[in-house]
Every structure is written in C-alpha cells, then in structure tokens.
Symmetry: C3
Subunit: 326 residues, 3 copies
C-alpha cells in the first residue's frame, strides 16, 4: 500500500530522499524509502485501538529509534507492551507507559518507541484501587552508539544539486536557532485525512458531535500530524538532513485545532559522530512547533519551558552528510 | 491506477484483507484486493454521466452481487441497461430503473447491480406522455446460491492476530444489534474528494453556487460515500467480515450534509451457509447509518421504518470465516 | 512516486488516456501517462523555491511546450533561466521573466515554458537602481511545426466507446463556444492539498495567519489548480482532446479564493494540421475559467478583455484524433 503521494499532499513533505528515485538509488536504497514520520505515524496508528482509542492526552515520547527503512508496498505490524501505570491522584484517570515495536513483513524491526498516555479509569471505590504505581525508568536520550545507520547508506550521493544546500553536519553549531520561513494553516478535512491515512482511530480527532462535550468543545488535531507538518516546513533550512534516526523525548505542549497556523523553529542541540562513519553524522535538534505567532517574536524557550503558542517540543536526531575532504 | 491509499485517507478503512499484503496472499489473492465499496463506488461513478448526472435522488438498490475481486491496476468499464421507467404523477420527474454491470480489463464481470433514481422530465404536454410505466420485478434478496465466492479463498488465513477478534460466523446471532463506537464528522472537502476519486460527476455534490437554489440550499453528500464511512466505522465489531458479497436492497433514507457526524449500527439479519464451503459463511446484515445522534438513544428501526436521524438503511451480506473444529 | 489517484480526487480528471490502461496501451504508451496539467503543476512547483516563493502574482505564460509523456514512477527535475527583468515604476516590486525546463530521470526534456511573475524588491535608493530593464521577446504562439507529437501515438485507438463522443478535429469550428455543464466549489483543504501535491511552497496559498495582512486578507488559490479544475470540467464537451500540447499564452485574470465555484467555457480558436500526420490534429482553444456566475449569462470576452467573474484566460492547444475515412 503506497501512501507516499497522499502524505506529500497532506504535509508538503519535500525531502528528496523520499520522492526522487535516482537519489534514493544513489543513497543505496532499493526504492524511495517512506518519510520517517509517515512510518512513525502509521506504526503509531496501529497501536491506537489497543492503547489510546479513548486517551485524553498523549503525554510524551522516549527512546524512539528508527531501525530500518520502510518502502512502499511493505506491510507493518506492531506489538505493544505496557511497561508502567500510575493512577492520577483524583482516581479518574491514569497514565499508561507503553513500549511499542513495529516490524515489516519480513519480521525486521523498523521502529521501537515508548510513549505514555493519559487514559480514563473505570469507576471504582478507593478500596478497589490496589494497583501499585510503576513508572518505568526511561533513558533521557538515545545514545549515539544505539543509533541504527544502515551500512549500505552512501550519504555522499546527496549532492547540492538535489537540495540546493551545501550545508553539512559541520555547519550546524550547537545553539543555532533556525526559524523556518513557511507556515501551514490546518483544516478539519486535512487532519482527519492524515489521521485516517495513518489508520489512527482515536475518537477525539474525528467526532465533532461527541467533541461538543470535551473540555475544548471541538476536535483536536493528532499530534503526530503536527510533527509531520513541522518536519515538512523545516526542509527550508535543514535540506540535507535526509533521515530521522531517533526521538529522545518530547511532548505536545498545547493542543492544536483546525484553523491554527503552524510554524516551526529548530534549535541545534548538538552533533554526534557515528562510530565507523566519516561520511555522515547525527544532528540533535529541538523541533519547536508554534501556532498563530510570528516566530521572530517568539522568545527562546528553555528545555521544558512553556509558552502558550508552543504546541510541540521534540528532542530528536537526524542523519546528515559530513563534509568530505577534497 | 491505485486509489487504495486515498480511499483509506477518506474513509478510515482498516479491514486488513485490503491493506495487509501477507494476509491477502494467505487468503489466496495475488495482491491486496480493493475494498468492495471502493469498487462499488468507482463502478457507480462510471454510470453517472449516462444515468444520473442530473438525478434528484438515488432511490434504492437491489440485486447487487460482487462477483470477482478487483486489484490495484485493474481497469473497470461499465454498461447499463434501462430496465424500467415510471413517471411521477406530477409529470415533472420520473423514476428510471437501471441494471449496471462492471467488467475488468479481461472482460470478467466483477459487479452487477440494479438501482433506481428520480430524474427530472422534459417539459411536455399531457398528450405527449405516452410511455407506459414499466416497473421491473426485482428479487427481494440475493439468494445464497447466487453468491459468488472465489474458489481460491482460504478464509482460515484470517487468524485473530490480524484483526484482534476471534468472532466467526457462528458467533453472530440473528437479532443481535451492534452500535459501533466511532463517529465521523464529514467535511465538504472530504466528500468532494471521495466523490471525485470515484469519478462521479453528479452536480449536486460539487456546485455550491447552483445548489443555492435546490431544496436544501447546499451540496448533498454522495450516498455511496456514507456507505463507505459506515463500512469503515463497523470494523470495530465486524473485524472478521472480510468481504462484501451482495446488497439485497437499501435506501438513503435522509440526506447527509457537510458538518454531519455519521454513526453506524448493524443488526444481524441472518446467517447463510455457502454450498460446498465449511470454512466460511455469509452473514446478512442491516447497516444503519445515523447522524448527529447517540446510537445508544436511537430506537430500534423496523425494516422500512423511518427516523429523522437515519440516513442509510442497507440490507447486505458479508463473508466471514466459520469456526474450525480443532 | 505516483500522484495520479490523488490528482483525480483533487480535480475530478476523467480523460481516459490517463486512467484507462487498455486505452493508454492502445494509444502506444507503455503505461498511463500522467495528466498534462499534473505534469505542468509538478514541474512548476519545482521552480517555486528559486523563483516565486514570495511572488505577489503570477502574471503570464508563453511558449509552453509539452515535449514527451511522463509516467508514474518518473522523477522530474527542473532548471530555470532568468531571461528578463523590469522594475515597476514605484520601485517596490518588479517583474521577472523565466524560462524553465523539466527533464525526466533519463534527461529527456518533457516540458519547457516561460512565465513572468511580480516579486517584491529589496529596499534601495533611487540611485541604487541601476539594472536596465530587459523584456524578452516572446513568441505570440507556439507554431504548429514546433508542437511535439510522439511518433508512436496511435490516436485511432481512442474509439467512441472510451469517451462516449464521436467528435473529431473536424467537428470543432473556429468561433464555437462550449459552456461546460459542471461547476466546482473550491475549499481551503482542497487547494492546499493540491498545491502541496505539486510541492509548490508559495506562502500565499498556505498561511492564513500571515495572509491577514495581504491585500485580500486571506489565502489565494494557486492558479495552476484552477487550470486543472477547468481541464477536468471541460471533459464534457472535449472528450476526445486526449493531450495538451502547448500553452501559447494566458493569465490568471482575477484571484480565486476558497468558497468560489469555478466554471469553464471553451472557445475554439482554430485548427492546426500536424505535418506528417493524418490521424490527429491540434485544436487551439481558449480556456476561460469563471467563478460564481451562470456561464449562459457570461458575455463573450474578447481576447485580452476583462470581466470580474473571469479568473483564467488560457490560450492553448490540444491533440485530438482526425476523422478517418472508411
């Protein structure tokens, strides 16, 4: 099932590794690999019926690793393991921690991630609440040695004629801030199309009639779609960051609704060398999604800091070619 | 031309037979077969320019049989035969009965169905009206012996790990009512995308400027899209009903508009054994589509009964595995 | 990357050469060629980041030639050459003339066109403005001998059973006016989906927050999408015009916004024989797109004439079979 064209229409994704076959082949792929966040969102969608169909909020991510490329025509299956639970003090909801893993049709693990979600609890008396809280220890980051870089990758193939940019790993300095120029106004039809494309069925995104009685009185946009929009917007400035390799952590800091216009800022967190590879490196980035605001006027947001305009704060790493000596 | 991914984005279809290649192959298919209602809607669309471009209403269906699977890349062509006509007493419109048949590029008939539509009449004097009414006799149902079940089908392949459900043919008792949990709010952009995907050009769905002067003052949603939405919503509860095999009858009981939220209830009508097959059976169902209502509060609707919230009442049959003795 | 199904959903395109594989093969193609305006819009999109990301308006087209068919899976790349510049008298913006060429992955040129756009200027003093205006000489038309007709084409394959129409090149008389029957209301979600499908990033189409301060206070619809809608609407009346071969000139006469309903009129300008071909000819047409108006009430628009309802006036040529002697 190829969903790549629909994904482009929904997000504006332009990273050429995913839509330029000659480049994909030169990189060593056998076809155009799917956009990493398309893979993430499809895999995520498969966990919804078992985990978060009735979720109140998707609270955070940790230890997400993109392990192998996925191609059009591949079939993904997922398994999830509940690794922790914690009741809220009000006894009405609780947090569930889940490790999910996605596999392709050959059984190759392509993605592994932890997320935690807030889910309503069954009604019960105080005496019935006997489950001891168990909060899993989660790594604060995916260390560089745990990143999965396909051996076959030939990143030197990503010549400037493909992306228009000559910037390599060395050119991004920790602390650098990039306010990407575009903005994307989101519509009800669009986020529902995207969320259905991912076969994500969470009710809060689709049912305006039921949503009248939620705290916002309307449908919420699936956070993974906001990530995809920000990834697409950030092509202008991160042209050569051709693959996503890990998500260290992150949260959907505020809800996004139809009618909101999303902008994206990136902050360069650091550079990680990859053992045994002089041709590419990992760039650790903070993807900040903000809505209905001029990015130039958005203050610096400290990690963990809050701002009413910020809807996404994602700590993740991309792969990018290193400068080659002549 | 593969429209499967766009169909998923538009409807949220999740039946794995249509999007999980390993399962499709295990069932005996050579590729993922297209969703049956995608086939129905595409075939229907091909009949619109000749039959119902200016139709006032699509009144009913009968004797629809899904005869052979359709795969991505197949090309469908259709032929239609007018089998009956009846003028309305006011002489301004009439009902036209049509048998349509769809064939793939090899000439294999994949779908056959009857529908009747109300169409405006040319202006004429009473004396000019000479066409004798001819109402065709239509079978009240597609009898089980007329259902087309591909010989190659291996329904035992539909293991619970694919759908999460162990329910088989035997587990659905006549009279059982299933209120499916999801709801889908429809937007103008979505139903127009879907209806164009089916290459259905009926004016009433696309032209808001002209629609100002129709009885509703706005665009109507194509009824076939509502059927597709209901089929997708009903996956939760009918997980193993992997194929649609017949439509016995049905009607679009009320119009659906953008902004409406559609819900789906199924009522089990009966079980039909298939001659020569102990591995699958047919389940006869009533698909009731309702809008802007809590299904739990929707009363039972007698066959042929009316309710302002009900937009669809479809009498059809699906194929589902039978329980296998150990 | 196949975008054909999404294009159908977005535009309602029905020309069977692009979606009926048996016909495409009979015409001599190796697969269904992509719709010509899909190719045009994708190629156009590739020029936006370098040419018109911040454009105020897309002013006109000239000398566009469709040189070779494009198939699903092909990869297009583009190069653009600035061939002229002219400052506006107010010194705040200027017109840039660009020749762009699109190539497939084998280096075959598939499309070549000139367009000119209005672009804001950097702030500068009068003394700094030293660039002499250079307005390129552009041909008023693509002469028939410069049209590219694939040798392999067998237009006789386009039998009436494919399109329902027997009209050939000979049947269209210069001066004939066709008011196509359909109308299409455009939604924000749709034009953004289409424009992203073309990987066109021009800000004015996507960012409602920034658009509050433009002259219209809202997003504008990409003109190329309006062309695609008009091409799709005009199938009813130009059924056998199976390929677009040239754009002689044209302009987006007025802006189009979400909520507008687009209609299409064609005026037959002339017929051009193709050297060495007795089986097909070129039909020169004016495609007039109008919004929110009954076409029957739209007066004749002289070439270059204006009307508030007219949003598109395109002078172009299509290929169509010639009548075959028995």
């Amino acid at each position: 099932m190829t969903r790549a064209a629909t994904y482009i229409a929904l997000t504006g994704a332009r990273q050429p590794a995913h839509c330029c076959l000659p480049l994909a082949l030169a990189l060593g792929h056998r076809a155009c690999p799917l956009d990493d966040f398309l893979v993430f969102n499809v895999a995520f969608g498969k966990t919804v019926p078992d985990i978060s169909y009735n979720a109140i909020a998707n609270l955070g991510y940790a230890d997400a690793r993109f392990l192998a490329p996925v191609y059009a025509g591949d079939t993904l299956s997922c398994e999830s393991l509940v690794i922790g639970v914690k009741e809220n003090s009000n006894g009405k909801a609780g947090v569930v921690y889940v490790r999910s893993r996605a596999f392709n049709q050959e059984g190759v693990e392509v993605l592994s991630w932890v997320r935690w979600v807030m889910i309503p609890m069954r009604k019960q008396t105080k005496e019935q609440r006997t489950q001891a809280p168990k909060v899993p220890e989660l790594p604060p980051e995916v260390e560089a040695f745990r990143l999965s870089v396909p051996e076959f990758l030939k990143p030197a193939a990503l010549e400037p004629r493909y992306t228009g940019s000559m910037r390599t790993w060395e050119d991004y300095a920790p602390g650098e801030v990039v306010n990407h120029p575009g903005g994307m106004t989101l519509e009800e039809a669009e986020h529902m199309l995207a969320t259905r494309l991912y076969q994500n069925t969470a009710r809060i995104h689709f049912d305006a009639f039921a949503a009248r009685s939620n705290q916002f009185g309307k449908r919420l946009i699936y956070g993974g779609h906001v990530i995809s929009i920000c990834r697409a917007l950030s092509y202008d400035g991160l042209e050569n960051a051709f693959a996503v390799t890990a998500i260290h952590g992150g949260s959907h800091a505020n809800p996004t609704f139809a009618g909101d216009t999303v902008y994206c800022r990136h902050v360069v967190v650091g550079r990680d060398a990859i053992e045994g590879r002089t041709d590419l490196g990992a760039l650790r980035l903070r993807m900040i999604g903000a809505k209905n605001v001029e990015l130039a006027e958005l203050p610096a947001i400290a990690p963990g800091g809050k701002n009413d305009a910020v809807v996404l704060d994602l700590d993740y790493s991309v792969l990018i070619p290193r400068r080659q000596s002549a």
